[in-house]
């Protein structure tokens, strides 16, 4: 199945009660699959067909406040239109899962892949998980509700997957049984905010700065606690479903590696192949896959990078103002003084649906091994690799 269908099956298995979505490429099939599930009687949920993404997320805020388990998905300009309810959802501490089929943002007009839409909202207060393949999409949706609804967390969560590269690419996906998922994920129960007409309560009253500071503090602390919870849920998932993803990061062939590639999203799969090929040639290279951009796994990254000499971060997005990609900027911030004596390289590519190929990554690995001065940020397709 394709990535959108994997997200749809993942959502259905979590028994959501209210769905809402506005179709946008490349997320559109996700909405169609969910509508089909309801029409076919496979899923007992209310589907709100809204007139915009702003309404979609606003309607789901209300449904979640009333105690519903809710799901939606979007992409690019749709996410941009959700900006206002996006931040209100996280600051209201409403646990929900939203799929993002990552797409480039406009201008220029583009419908193809790129992670600019979601990474731009990295400070929107949501947990953001980036997937490598379609199985991980389905599994991350299921794990997502468990993480988001944890009483210690209460945060919304994005399951991000590269548009077309995953959203429209078909591969084998194991769909777990409803029974197995029910045992893993209990029904949604919300205590801290549930609306009840018998017990009127205030939602978002005008709040002075000292109290707002407290709410922010609690939100930030919940995000910190999420690091542990994400890892714990991954362990639980592995125990029940016999597959896991390492939680915040996944290290591939990093033991005794001198060179380290860092990726996020679908290029991770390509990088694994390139690492295997390079290892066959005796090049000591490994891969660090970042799963969660938020919370950013600072400690795990520092640990993973510890003994590596050259680190190359591959970004499918840009960080305006730093002249780099976002993941590179995050990794460099995480390392701080620990970066001393190491070589940090950034490769920006895969924008607007362009390919990051095995050859690209093999070229990057060759560059990493060479002891010559080189630019810190290389743009695939503009600079030679």
């Amino acid at each position: 199945m394709d990535g959108n269908m994997a997200a749809a099956y993942g959502a259905m298995l979590c028994r959501p009660t209210v769905l809402s979505a506005y179709p946008i490429t490349p997320q559109t099939p996700l909405v169609e699959y969910l509508a089909n599930f309801i029409a076919d009687g496979l899923l007992d949920a209310e589907m709100i067909e809204a007139e915009s993404e702003h309404t979609v997320l606003s309607a789901l805020q209300g449904a979640c406040l009333a105690g519903g388990r809710v799901f939606t998905g979007t992409s690019s300009q749709g996410l941009a239109l959700m900006y206002e309810p996006y931040i209100r959802t996280s600051t209201l501490r409403l646990p929900m899962v939203m799929a993002i089929a990552n797409r480039e943002v406009i201008s220029p007009q583009s419908v193809w892949g790129g992670q600019q839409d979601a990474v731009t909202l990295r400070d929107g207060g949501w947990i953001q998980v980036y997937c490598e393949n379609n199985q991980e999409i389905l599994d991350s949706v299921i794990m997502g509700y468990k993480i988001a609804e944890d009483p210690e967390i209460l945060l919304p969560l994005n399951v991000c997957y590269d548009g077309f590269y995953l959203s429209h690419m078909s591969e084998g996906v194991d769909v777990p049984s409803q029974k197995l998922v029910d045992r893993f994920l209990p029904p949604f129960k919300i205590d801290h905010i549930k609306l009840d007409p018998e017990e009127p309560m205030a939602v978002d009253p005008l709040t002075p700065g000292d109290l707002l500071t407290e709410y922010r503090f609690k939100h930030v602390m919940a995000m910190e606690r999420a690091k542990k919870v994400i890892e714990r849920v991954d362990h639980e998932f592995r125990a029940r479903f016999k597959r896991g993803y390492g939680g915040l990061i996944e290290a591939y062939r990093t033991e005794d590696a001198d060179l380290l590639l860092v990726t996020m999203g679908s290029p991770s799969g390509t990088a694994r192949v390139a690492v295997d090929l390079a290892r066959d040639q005796g090049i000591p290279v490994g891969l660090l896959k970042i799963r969660t951009l938020r919370p950013f796994p600072v400690e795990k990254v520092v640990e993973a990078v510890d003994s590596k000499r050259v680190i190359a971060v591959i970004d499918r997005n840009v960080c305006f103002g730093w002249g780099t990609g976002v993941v590179f900027m995050e990794v460099r911030s995480a390392l701080g003084a620990n970066a001393d004596g190491k070589r940090l390289l950034n490769f920006v590519g895969g924008l607007g649906g362009s390919d990051i190929t095995v050859d690209h990554i093999l070229g990057i690995i060759r560059k990493m091994g060479r002891d010559v001065e080189m630019r810190q940020v290389t743009w695939l397709g503009i600079h030679d690799v």
Binding site: L92, L94, E199, M201, P208, L211, Y215, K218
Partner: protein, 87 residues
């Protein structure tokens, strides 16, 4: 570490409410005999401060911020805004 609110998010019963009445420099004064009880002040009040009394309407000064919309809308010209001075 001392926290002032037990709430995890700004949703709940008995949350802190900003007393917008403290922002006021003028207050609406209702001439009861002129009030026709049409309720237009109630409908237009942006802070939901108008209370219905036995035979007239008046503002709850806890939350009335003195914007004067009620005085502006009152067909019977029963409401006048009077400048308040702090003692």
């Amino acid at each position: 570490m001392a926290l002032k609110t037990p709430f995890e998010a700004p949703v709940g019963k008995d949350l802190y409410v900003v007393k917008t009445g403290e922002w006021r420099f003028q207050k609406p004064v209702v001439k009861k005999e002129k009030c026709t009880r049409c309720g237009i002040c109630f409908i237009f009040c942006p802070t939901n401060s108008i209370r219905e009394r036995e035979d007239f309407y008046e503002a709850d000064l806890e939350t009335c911020k003195g914007c004067g919309i009620c005085a502006n809308e009152c067909h019977a010209v029963a409401i006048t805004m009077e400048v308040e001075r702090k003692e």
